[in-house]
């Protein structure tokens, strides 16, 4: 697939998810990266981020829900999250290597672990912050726990959960760059190479590329979060 087509597809996707302005930002940003001859690494980075974020969310959101519903679970998971977040991110790279060898798989594994805490934390927070009165209202009408979760708690927690997803994506992006040290491809590798060869120019270009990818991903997810706010933009 030629880069220009991919860029158009991405822009349309951004339009659908985040609206016109986000779509324009996406198109211009990616066109610029193409122009910098960084298209291939950018694509690799985005694939890595998407894969590891999806996995992190699939694991993180259910854990977050469990934490939000049960104080006891929250009390055991909480300290683990603190540890995951304070541990220097490079450390996750080490245990991944003996299991998966050098390369993208290890990078993904480390990224998943590193980026999971915010979504767990914010999902739990979102559910715990649902007003007591609404929980009571839901109970008073005879909701089962599952109905309460699906119809009341999750919809009301959604904006907070979206903020968590946004954070997770950002962390995943930063980790994917670091994971270049164990042989992950993408923009990180370019940075890593420029460090080793002391090519400040290339390093700077790649740095800007990473920033652009970050901005695009951030805008798209933030717009999505805004749209899911209760009685939000659609109501006016």
């Amino acid at each position: 697939m030629p880069p220009w087509l991919t860029i158009i597809v991405f822009a349309l996707l951004a339009w659908w998810l985040g609206g016109r302005r986000v779509a324009i930002t996406t198109a211009i940003g990616f066109a610029f990266l193409w122009n910098l001859r960084l298209w291939q690494p950018t694509l690799e980075t985005i694939v890595l981020v998407t894969l590891s974020t999806t996995a992190a969310l699939l694991i993180g959101i259910p854990i977050g829900i469990a934490c939000g519903l049960s104080r006891r679970t929250w009390r055991t998971v909480g300290p683990c999250l603190d540890m995951m977040q304070t541990m220097p991110s490079f450390v996750y790279l080490i245990p991944a290597i003996p299991f998966f060898g050098l390369g993208a798989v290890s990078a993904c594994f480390a990224t998943i672990i590193f980026s999971m805490p915010p979504v767990i934390r914010l999902t739990a927070l979102g559910i715990m912050q649902v007003p007591q009165e609404l929980i009571e209202a839901s109970d008073a009408f005879g909701s089962t726990p599952a109905q309460k979760l699906l119809k009341v708690q999750l919809p009301l927690a959604l904006p907070t959960i979206m903020a968590g997803i946004n954070q997770t994506i950002m962390l995943a992006l930063s980790m994917v760059v670091i994971a270049a040290m164990i042989g992950a491809g993408g923009l990180g590798r370019e940075v890593w190479r420029s460090i080793q060869r002391l090519e400040a120019g290339v390093g700077f270009e790649t740095g800007i590329a990473i920033v652009i990818v970050a901005v695009i991903l951030d805008r798209i997810t933030q717009k999505m979060a805004q749209r899911m706010r209760p009685s939000g933009a659609t109501a006016h």
């Binding site: 009571e136 839901s138 008073a140 009408f141 005879g142 009341v152 919809p155 209760p230 009685s231 109501a235």
Partner: protein, 413 residues
């Protein structure tokens, strides 16, 4: 629990075990189709009590029976079913789901019961109409005023068509004008729907407006329960007296409550001699004349009877007609103007114009001063039982003062 049974009070238990006694030996009945108002200041346990009824709060001990079902022993699954079929609940801060439209909010209870979409919308729309929110169903709660939000809350409770409405300080968060309006509407709704309503409130005016029985709570215990006027006239404790102090007694208490039942009467068919004898025993020297059906048709005094008469007249000829009667359900406030214009005692009659007793200006003043004659406690008040059934859900002031039969008389109300 052991401490409580051992007679320790709330503060002592709090100090010893750091657990709060929310409810302590609370017991009351709610009849089908009545509004029961649970009153008390904040922290008196009234909301906890309400939540015990549908077990949003688990009572540690005791029993709650609804329609013969012991709620406290229901399994989790049965409890859900029971809540769905029996209870509608309205919350102080409305408890509407901000992510749902008014329609979806109102339909929530039905959605939980897996009612089909079309039927759900039908029913929800009907109850939206009942509370007067038609045209607003596609809005979100934050686009509505407080009063309208609470209407939606009420509609949601009505939509499930439950027998029992639990209303937790439902109108307390509204401003006074809207609150009045909502109280009035709830009363009117109640006349149509005949739900059983347990209404928690800290506002005595509200309790009186709603017109049902009142249960007054303090520190998790019931201090007094009964009709508003009973509580006003015979406060059980100093606390109750202070609680009701600012209420205008005259607009709540009905004439029937104050009436002196020990009243001399003469039946119209009696002879003059019999009447003389009867009147001689009374201190006032005045008696009401009744017809055979106990209806008041006039009054007669000793002086009239003592007059020497040539052609032995009947009582019907001698008696003074055109006397004013008060309906027992008239409020004292409305009766005052009548009392002022009558030098003697005024006859008080029930809804069938039968005599219940008499009332003097002095009695009325005594009641206003907070020292009513304590006759209601002693006599099993048949009169009260008769009209309390009516005044329960319909405000007593809606009963006009009626003149005794056959006597054209207009009374300013």
């Amino acid at each position: 629990m052991a401490l409580l049974k051992g007679g320790e009070d709330k503060d002592a238990i709090l100090a010893k075990t750091s657990s709060v006694v929310a409810l302590d030996r609370v017991s009351f009945d709610v009849d089908e189709g009545e509004i029961l108002v649970v009153m008390g200041l904040s922290g008196s346990g009234k909301s906890t009590m309400l939540r015990c009824i549908n077990r949003l709060v688990e009572p540690t001990e005791g029993s709650i029976v609804v329609d013969g079902t012991e709620v406290t022993s229901l399994s989790a699954r049965d409890l859900l079913e029971f809540r769905r079929s029996k209870f509608g609940m309205v919350f102080q801060n409305f408890g509407l789901f901000p992510n749902r439209t008014i329609l979806d909010n109102v339909a929530y209870g039905l959605e939980i019961q897996k009612v089909g979409r079309r039927e759900r919308i039908d029913k929800a729309m009907r109850s939206i109409e009942v509370v007067g929110l038609k045209g607003w169903e596609t809005k979100f709660p934050n686009q509505l005023s407080g009063g309208m939000q609470q209407r939606a809350g009420l509609a949601r409770a009505l939509a499930v068509d439950a027998d029992i409405l639990l209303m937790d300080e439902a109108f307390s968060a509204l401003d006074p004008l809207i609150r009045r309006e909502m109280q009035e509407e709830l009363r009117q709704l109640q006349q149509k729907l005949h739900k059983t309503i347990v209404f928690v409130s800290h506002d005595l005016d509200e309790a009186i407006t709603l017109g049902g029985r009142i249960v007054l709570m303090k520190d998790g215990q019931i201090v007094q329960s009964g009709l508003p006027e009973e509580i006003l006239l015979q406060p059980a404790t100093e606390y109750v007296r202070r609680f009701v102090e600012h209420i205008d007694i005259s607009s709540v208490v009905t004439v029937g409550r104050l009436v002196d039942r020990d009243v001399p009467t003469v039946v119209v068919s009696q002879t003059i001699a019999e009447a003389r004898e009867a009147i001689a025993r009374t201190p006032s020297g005045v008696a009401f004349v009744l017809d055979e059906a106990d209806r008041v048709i006039g009054s007669i005094d000793q002086a009239t009877l003592q007059q020497p008469s040539r052609h032995s007249p009947s009582i019907a000829q001698l008696m003074r007609t055109g006397i004013v009667c008060l309906q027992a359900a008239t409020t004292l406030k409305a009766a005052l103007s009548v009392l002022v214009s009558e030098p003697e005692s005024v006859a008080v009659v029930d809804s069938d114009d039968r005599l219940i007793g008499s009332l003097t200006t002095r009695d009325a003043l005594a009641a206003l001063a907070g020292q009513p004659r304590r006759n209601t406690g002693e006599t099993p008040n048949e009169g009260a039982a008769e009209w309390s059934g009516q005044s329960r859900n319909s405000r007593s002031t809606s009963y006009a003062i009626k003149p005794s039969p056959g006597l054209p008389l207009t009374v300013p109300t």
